[in-house]
């Protein structure tokens, strides 16, 4: 699919918490095909600190309304500006970018593990898998009750297990501590979250010989393969996270 630069309209901006929001955008040209795991590069106008675009995962897609949703966590100036966007504003996107999560094999039992903003791509992936007739299971890690978001949306797609660091919701601890991992045998785990979480999940999968794919959030300048800044060290050498990724099978990573 051809990549493009396009101004999309903000049709809604749902503030979930003080630092999370879901931005709903409409493409007037008609959305291109978007795969789960792909991302967009947004241009944040109006701030000298946001010279480069910001990569954001495809969170949800509604082709019937040409609607693309992004889940944003406020971290710095760029995401702060995105959080403040209003209905009617414009957002310039460079998209679609990156590869996608690979399809599971027939009959595989799959687990989607997410933490923090890492849950962003998992909603669209979950929908995609459900459409394929699978019943994805979600394991979501949050810091505490106040940061638990979007569980209803995930619930509508499959079972949802939760951990919080303080035990205020679900099981206490990190995702890799959750009891579901010892109760159900998964053939394939998709994971997106903080580096430490992805490493822990990758380690767990390696031990159990589970197929594991992670979505990396490396620093990017361009997002479409021309700057070579976003590399991941793989068994095939340094590959670009923005074109060969962001999704990698952990067996290919030098982790």
């Amino acid at each position: 699919m051809g990549k493009r630069v396009e101004n999309l309209k903000v049709i809604d901006n749902k503030h979930l918490t003080e630092d999370f929001c879901v931005l709903e955008l409409r493409s007037e040209l008609g959305l291109p095909a978007l795969l789960p795991g792909q991302f967009v590069q947004v241009k944040v106008e109006g701030s000298p600190e946001t010279f480069l675009r910001r990569p954001v995962s495809v969170h949800d897609v509604d082709y019937s309304e040409n609607k693309l949703s992004l889940l944003i966590q406020v971290l710095g100036k760029g995401t702060e500006t995105l959080y403040k966007l209003d209905k009617g504003d414009c957002l310039n996107l460079l998209y679609p970018l990156g590869n996608s999560f690979s399809d599971p094999l027939q009959g595989e039992s799959v687990l989607l593990v997410g933490g923090g903003t890492g849950i962003a791509p998992l909603l669209y992936l979950g929908k995609y898998l459900k459409n394929k007739g699978l019943r994805p299971v979600f394991l979501l890690g949050f810091r505490n009750l106040s940061r638990v978001i979007l569980t209803e949306e995930f619930n509508s797609l499959g079972d949802v297990y939760i951990t919080t660091e303080d035990g205020s919701v679900g099981e206490k601890g990190y995702v890799t501590d959750h009891s579901v991992l010892s109760k159900i045998i998964f053939n394939r785990i998709y994971c997106c979250g903080p580096d430490a979480m992805m490493h822990a999940v990758a380690g767990f999968c390696k031990n159990k010989n589970i197929n594991c794919e992670v979505s990396l959030e490396n620093l990017m300048a361009c997002g479409f393969g021309i700057c070579l800044c976003c590399i991941a060290e793989t068994t095939r050498g340094n590959l670009c996270t923005c074109t060969d990724g962001p999704v990698f099978n952990t067996k290919d990573l030098k982790w």
């Binding site: 630069v5 000298p48 480069l52 675009r53 393969g225 021309i226 700057c227 340094n238």
Partner: protein, 304 residues
């Protein structure tokens, strides 16, 4: 109609907008966005004899109106280029220029000789200014004697157009431009990135794996422009200007200061269509001001 074509020696460029090395891949990466053949030329990725893995991650840091990179010449080497890239880009209807890199003079010479045989490559850009490699690169570009040696050696073997890419990290860039001219180079291109640094105060570590890296983008435009002005007044060979060009207006500043052509770098990361937009804007400016030829504004500042 406005004439936009410019020359480096007898090599004619249909227009003066080129993409800068390391910021446009090999060309095909931009095909989704515009027809690469509409540009005056493309300067492909820094190339070496052997494949290189480049530096470790992180290689990038954003800075005010700019960015630092520490890519370190990651590329698959000339053999891969010849086999897999050359056949594709040889079809472009524009000049493809290879950015040539090495650790030693022998490396530069061997690579240049090899590229001399590639029919569809009319010129090389000798990169003696890469700040992101331990050996070679900027070491040649910041020492006049080494610069002369490597240029002379390459000139002896490379028969087509030889462009020398100069480093801005020097006391007097004019010295290096003069050396290039004296040694028979056909053009100089400037500037490469300024050596810079950023620190992550939360992690209390340098932002880049290599500590220092190359600064590019609008932040460096005033320095780049000053150097283009200085050099174009001092040498007779054409000067290719670059450094922070984001808009047609930026490019025009370079022409007025003496650049015969410009290269677009970091701008392409933010807007892949930047090179064509800039080209369109230059044409409009000339038409609005009733100029019929780009040559009328090249070096305009130096005429009075």
């Amino acid at each position: 109609m406005v004439n936009l074509s410019v020359n480096i020696g007898e090599l004619r460029f249909k227009n003066p907008v080129l993409t800068a090395s390391g910021t446009c891949g090999y060309g095909p990466e931009l095909e989704d966005f515009f027809d690469v053949s509409s540009l005056g030329g493309i300067v492909v990725k820094g190339t070496t004899l052997e494949p290189r893995e480049g530096n470790q991650y992180p290689r990038m840091a954003e800075t005010p109106s700019g960015m630092l990179n520490a890519v370190g010449l990651q590329n698959k080497g000339i053999e891969y280029f010849e086999k897999h890239i050359y056949p594709v880009i040889a079809k472009y209807n524009t000049h493809v220029i290879i950015n040539v890199n090495g650790n030693t003079i022998d490396d530069y010479v061997a690579l240049s000789e090899r590229i001399n045989k590639l029919d569809k490559i009319p010129a090389i850009e000798l990169n003696i200014s890469c700040p992101n490699v331990k050996r070679g690169g900027m070491i040649f570009g910041t020492n006049p004697d080494s610069a002369r040696d490597v240029i002379r050696a390459v000139r002896a073997v490379y028969k087509k157009k030889l462009i020398i890419k100069l480093s801005p990290n020097v006391t007097n860039i004019v010295d290096f431009a003069r050396i290039a001219e004296e040694e028979g180079a056909d053009s100089v291109s400037l500037v490469n990135t300024l050596l810079g640094m950023a620190v992550d105060i939360n992690r209390m570590k340098p932002s880049l794996s290599t500590v220092t890296g190359g600064l590019s983008g609008p932040a460096i435009k005033p320095v780049a422009l000053r150097m283009v002005w200085q050099v174009s007044r001092a040498v007779k060979i054409p000067v290719i200007g670059m450094g922070g060009i984001m808009t047609a207006s930026d490019a025009i500043e370079f022409f007025l200061a003496g650049a015969t052509a410009v290269q677009i770098g970091t701008a392409t990361f933010i807007n892949p269509m930047a090179p064509v937009r800039i080209l369109e804007g230059i044409e409009k400016y000339l038409a609005d001001k009733h100029f019929s030829d780009i040559s009328e504004i090249i070096g305009f500042l130096n005429r009075n």
